[in-house]
Amino acid sequence: MRPVYMIAGGITKFAKASPRKDFRYMVKEAFDQAMADVPGLTLDMIDGSVASYFSDHFTRQLMAGIMVHDYLGLTPKPSKRIESGGATGGMCIQSAWEAVASGRMDVCAAFGFETMSHVNTWKGNEFIALASDTNFDYPVGGFYTGYYAMMVKRHMYEFGTTEEQLAAVSVKNHANALHNPYAQFPAELTIEDVLKSEMIADPLKRLDICVMSDGAAAVILASEEMARKLTDKPVRISGVGTGTDAMRMADRPSREVILLPHENAADYKGLKYPGVHSFRGGRTAAKEAYKMAGITNPLEELDFVELHDAFTSSEIQTYEDLGLCKYGEGGKFVESGAAGLGGKVPVNPSGGLLACGHPVGATGLMQGVFALWQLQGTIGQHFNGDDTLQIKNAKRGLIHSHAGTGTYITVSVMERGF
């Protein structure tokens, strides 16, 4: 394998609906923004692409990936579609990474989109719930918020996590998004606002849950030689990891914690793992990515994290899977301010899914774009001159993409390559 760099990214403003641009045009807008950041790059220098979108139900157009590839002017070069639920975007970046790392391509475009506005919210929830076992789970009351609510109920039971701690995630991420012009739902909230918002599935309330969106994002990956030729601010993807778990939450086993290098078995005596309170796939993905990137203590060695906070509870559970704190301490971690903008390791400085929106196939790529700009130091340049969210001297960050109840999870480590 050879080193792989991210050299450019682009994104549309995520919105509840984008009827004036279809999925092809939305991706084109994101792709052209990426191309504009590397003026030396022309279409003929791109060797192929990887397409990311989750649901054929939302699109009601099969083979939408090739329609985008064609619209971008990339035919007859290689292209393929990646699908792995909520983790589709993260997996797409890793697939493009593999194309460059293997030497098959020197420059590969990765793009993603989702158009969720074509059906009403509750039909949309039904489409998403079809990503649960249709023999045993979906017919019982298929509803993803319900599944995550059961997971966090158990987290609260095992570790004493509180609804106020969940609310703190919502307050933090919505506030960060006030400075992100691409975010769908920036808001100045209080803990009280979140606690008083409408109950959806106990204990998750409306403001604990991301919204449905239309949107697109794209990144361009390149070999070292091409990266140096095309930009003076390349960002290296220094570690990739992927983990999985059983589709049915009911099938999660009770075993011992998978340990990261800085942890001891004694820390988790008597803890049944992962059960439904933790994401074993997230820990597995982190472990693989950390090993490749040479990270032994993530809290000390990461400058920021963009993670998959479709629910406030998943952000808390993911701090633990990533080893930013011990299992069980995620609630206290957010409460301490460690994940805040000025904290030890800012988590979701962009506003995350909660505030940016979650057009599924674009989401993991959105994280890649924001992480790229953080590491390039170009947040202000890309955010209309507002550099409030720029983490000073950010050298290494992590992006984390996650599919339904932890079935597919990707972790990629990115670092400044200049």
Partner: protein
Amino acid sequence: MSAEQRTNSAGKVKLEEQEIGAVLYNVDPIIMKYHYEIDYMHSYAQDSPFFEGLSKGELWGSKCPVCGSTFGTPRGHCMNCGAKTEWMQLPLEAKIHTYTTCYFGSQEFLAETPFTLILVEWPNVDTFFLSRLLGVAPDEVKIGMPVRAKFRRLSQFKPTDVYFVPEES
């Protein structure tokens, strides 16, 4: 000439006007709205005996004859060693592993809200079972609460043929 084509009095070919299908939902940009519904054949395949069991008031999980893993939700092959599993009847008494009450849901279940979902656990069974809990106010549900399986009298051959109620103390 196709069936849709007609000749008017002036002898010119004209496509017949229709008022069926999609409706104009918005004009700028033009958005069309149409209905989309299908009949779908879904086979329970190797899981079929579980649904047959529900119709007889029985709950069935799986056991792996090779590694001994036990599953509260049946599966044809073992997730730990890959061997073909055997059917294993489960007790009707169980406990709540975790729960939530849904006040909203997918469109298909919206009319049934609020409903309470539970993961059911049995001692000595490695995995759980998703079901609904009836007969308890949402704020009285507790993890660890003893529950008992009940069955619909008229089986619909769906996983909701079984549901749980609090075990009478």
